[in-house]
Symmetry: C2
C-alpha cells in the first residue's frame, strides 16, 4: 500500500498559453476549465481536465523564476508530474529513509491549504515529481 | 465533444529500468504490473498503473533508435504523453484541417491491433503526443 493512487496532473511549460491553447483546446478539442494567475508561482496556468487527471499549461510570468529559466534553457515541453498522496508526512518519511533527494526539507503549502513537496529528478530517472496531499480517493474508508 | 477523455499513460525514458524501479516501485511504492520487451519499439517497458492511467518506464534496447538518441541528447525524463481517442480517423481529419503536424501521414498499428499516431512537438508546445484509439470509456452508449 503506497497511499499513491492517482496522477493529479501533468504540467507543460509554454512560452505563450494562448498559442498552446490553439492546439490543446481549439484543434484537439480539450475543455478549458480556466486560466489563473498564480503570482506565488510566478506563472499563469491553464487547467484542462482529462478524465480524473488534468493537463496544466504553465506560462512563466517572471524571467528570473526557475520555470522561466527552465523554458529558456530546454525549450517548451513537459515540466513535471504530480501524484496525489494520501499521507504526505508518511511518504516523505519513507522517501528520506531510502535516501531519496527532495527539493526542500519540509512540505510547502499551496494557496488552497493543500501541502506538497517535490522529488528531485536525480532520484526519479529525470522526472521532477510533485507529491500533493489530499484528493478524493475512491476507497476512502 | 472532443472524443478525447483520458490520459492513457505518461512515458519516461530511462537508461536502466531496474535503477528507475528502485525509486518508483521500491521507494515510492507504486505497483509494477509487468516489464515487457517491445522489439518493434526497440525498447523494454515497465508498466506502473496509476489510477485509471499509467506510468511507463521505457529503456531503449537499440542505440540507433530515435528514443535512444533522445536519451543520449537530453538525458532521462518525460518522453511523451498518450491520450485515448474514441475515433482516431475523425481526430486526424480535424487536426490535419487545422494544419497540425503529425509525425506520420497515416496511423500505425500496435501489436495488440490498436491504432495510434503521434503529434509533433512543434504543434503542441513541445510535447510529443501519442493519440491512441480505443479504451474503455465510462459513457459508452
Amino acid at each position: 500500500m503506497s497511499g499513491i493512487e492517482k496522477l493529479n496532473h501533468v504540467a507543460v511549460v509554454v512560452a505563450d498559453i494562448e498559442a498552446a491553447l490553439a492546439f490543446w483546446r481549439d484543434a484537439l478539442g480539450l475543455e478549458l476549465a480556466g486560466v489563473k494567475d498564480m503570482p506565488e508561482q510566478k506563472s499563469r496556468i491553464a487547467f484542462l481536465p482529462l478524465g480524473g487527471s488534468e493537463l496544466e499549461l504553465v506560462q512563466p510570468t517572471d524571467p528570473d523564476s526557475g520555470i522561466a529559466k527552465n523554458l529558456a534553457k530546454r525549450g517548451p515541453g513537459m515540466h513535471h508530474l504530480c501524484l496525489e498522496v494520501r499521507d504526505l508526512d508518511a511518504t516523505i518519511g519513507r522517501l528520506k529513509g531510502k535516501g531519496i533527494r527532495l527539493t526542500s526539507e519540509a512540505p510547502m503549502t499551496a494557496a488552497d491549504g493543500r501541502r506538497m513537496i517535490f522529488v528531485h529528478p536525480e532520484s526519479t530517472g529525470g522526472v521532477l515529481l510533485e507529491l500533493y496531499e489530499g484528493g478524493e480517493f475512491a476507497e476512502t474508508p
